[in-house]
């Protein structure tokens, strides 16, 4: 259960403002794709178009194509709700539902759209998802405690458990470790390495070492100046990107000699 995404000539607009222009990208199944680039270049904007989360923002829209295993994500009659079930998302700040217990948080997505789940299935799924997110051992004795009673790193893993509980094809992560300490960050990175056996993962990060450690392919976004649209400058295997990138700007950015 993982699919590849082909992005073709994608433009993203916020009203009149063209935020990201002309992205062509192949996101391979069962791999980790890292998106890097300076602040404001449109990484989050682009990422959110992959599960149509940009539509939450009034007046935001895209032109171009994003095709997941032959299915056009923007095709007529495609329900964004369905797209988001297939393409899950983990946010920069951990956001478990504070009004729900840990177990209910894991089941939050499964219970949507009138889906019913028997109690024993639910128990299994909670254990499976939390184990998948490397959190089971830490929380198995307090599944009925509120999700907000966990540490930041645990909360983020809870969010990952919640995202994988609905068995998506693709998992998008927008700076999932930027609010975490180094140890929690390592825990999440290990988790990403495991998850890629089953999922297609796209991760935005500001941390070069992290991109180098976890990803198979890396895409570098850049922006010519404020008010200009962001572009995908270069995309290649991570090892190539970090050793011999073909564009000078990539090399400057990666080596820290930037702007």
């Amino acid at each position: 259960m993982s699919k590849r995404i082909d992005v073709n000539d994608l433009n993203v607009y916020y009203g009149d403002f063209l935020a990201v222009e002309g992205v062509n990208m192949v996101i391979e199944a069962r791999s980790v794709t890292a998106l890097i680039g300076p602040s404001g270049c449109g990484k989050s904007t682009f990422l959110r178009t992959l599960n149509r989360m940009h539509e939450v923002i009034p007046k935001a829209y895209v032109t171009g194509k994003a095709v997941m295993d032959g299915q056009d994500l923007y095709g007529p009659g495609v329900d964004p709700v369905e797209v988001r079930r297939q393409v899950g998302m983990v946010f920069q700040r951990p956001n478990p539902f504070p009004t729900m217990s840990i177990a209910d948080n894991v089941l939050a997505g499964v219970r949507l759209n009138n889906r019913r789940i028997s109690r024993s299935d639910a128990t299994d799924l909670v254990e499976r998802s939390l184990t998948g997110a490397n959190l089971w051992n830490e929380v198995k004795d307090r599944l009925d405690r509120p999700g907000s009673s966990l540490s930041g790193g645990q909360q983020q893993r809870l969010c990952i458990a919640r995202a994988i509980a609905v068995e998506p094809q693709v998992l998008l992560m927008d700076e999932p470790c930027s609010a975490l300490d180094p140890i929690s960050t390592l825990a999440i990175e290990d988790l990403i390495a495991e998850l890629k056996n089953n999922y297609t993962i796209v991760i935005v990060t500001h941390n070069m070492q992290q991109a180098a450690r976890v990803s198979d392919r890396t895409g570098f976004f850049n922006i010519a100046g404020t008010g200009k649209p962001g572009h995908l400058i270069e995309m290649d295997d991570t090892t190539t990107m970090f050793s011999t990138p073909s564009v000078k700007a990539t090399e400057d950015y990666i080596s820290g000699r930037f702007g």
Partner: protein, 335 residues
């Protein structure tokens, strides 16, 4: 290092922790004084009201039952058998008001906060606030002139439809039995109250719903929630304690509302659930207003005693609300 033309300055003495008082101390003190005084002032007022009620009600509370025989409006009853029906009337009219107003307010609040386009939402918001500014006498007039004729056919139907008739025949009288026009009954009063408490509840829940963290809404949507599911998953749980507070605000207003009930309801002093019959119920506040001018002696004390009970009732309602909110504070998102 930036290079400057200025000559090298001699090494400065390291900054010391300044002795003496920090500047702005006075402002702090003044402000603290004012806010403490305001807090105490509120407590004092509350205590003064409570003490006034207690002191003035005491003669009635301790009087022998026979003492009230001469008080005309008490119909020869002693204090408690006179007050219970009033308490009941107050409670039932307020409950009707909340049963109607709370779901409606949540609906309107959600529509304004999460469904309506920006412009429309703003307009609606103003409209609701305007509704709050209408004096209750006007609501009373409106209830008599407009609402009563409007609901009369509905009430007739409720009272005479086959289901009610069947129940009356086989089980006994229902809450809808025995409607008599005009609709000067407790249900009409409750409906008028519902309209009156609608603005305050709507305005409060709308604010609460608007404060739902974007993060939680997006968490829900990213899991594949529809808008309504997102509202159930993120907005309503987050707004739960706010909805309870808003309900209590509304209840406070409904319990104490005098004019509209006085004008709409044909009073009675019974305890029953015949919502559509006139002359069955009366609320404490409306009762005080209608009898205070003619009351004298122990009658005044009795009315004040009923006021004390209303006071205690509102107080109790608030305590319970707080307890409900506190009980699940851990899951509230405030931490």
């Amino acid at each position: 290092m930036a290079v400057t033309d200025s000559p090298p300055s001699e090494p400065e003495a390291p900054p010391k922790v300044r002795a003496g008082r920090a500047p702005g101390r006075l402002g702090n003190r003044v402000f603290q004084g004012i806010s403490t005084a305001s807090g105490i002032f509120i407590l004092v007022i509350l205590a003064a009201v409570a003490i006034f009620l207690l002191v003035r009600a005491w003669p009635a509370v301790t009087a022998a039952p026979s003492a009230f025989e001469d008080v005309g409006f008490m119909l020869g009853r002693d204090l408690w058998s006179w007050v219970w029906p009033l308490l009941f009337g107050t409670a039932i009219s307020s409950v009707i008001a909340l049963v109607v107003a709370v779901p409606l307010s949540i609906g309107i609040g959600l529509f304004i906060s999460h469904y309506a386009p920006r412009r429309l939402a703003q307009g609606l918001g103003y409209l609701i606030d305007l509704l709050a500014a209408i004096p209750s006498v006007i609501f009373g007039l409106w209830g008599i002139q407009w609402l009563q004729p409007l609901v009369s056919p509905l009430f007739t139907w409720l009272s005479t439809n086959p289901a009610t008739a069947w129940l009356e025949e086989n089980v006994g009288p229902t809450i809808f039995s025995g409607y008599q026009a005009p609709a000067r009954n407790i249900l009409t009063a409750g409906l008028v109250l519902a309209i009156m408490v609608l603005p305050i509840i709507t305005a409060t829940v709308r604010e609460v719903f608007l404060q739902t963290p974007r993060l939680h809404e997006e968490a829900s949507l990213a899991l594949g929630a529809t808008r309504w599911e997102m509202i159930r998953q993120a907005v309503l749980p987050f707004g739960r304690s706010g909805v309870i507070s808003a309900t209590m605000l509304g209840l406070g207003r409904a319990l104490g509302e005098t004019m509209a009930v006085l004008m709409v309801l044909s009073p009675g002093y019974l305890i029953n659930f015949f919502l559509l019959q006139p002359g069955q119920h009366q609320s404490i506040a409306a009762n005080i207003a209608s009898h205070f001018p003619e009351a004298s002696g122990i009658g005044v004390d009795a009315l004040i005693a009923s006021g004390l009970i209303l006071f205690v009732m509102t107080f109790g309602v608030n305590l319970v609300a707080r307890w409900i909110i506190a009980r699940r504070a851990e899951f509230s998102g405030a931490n």
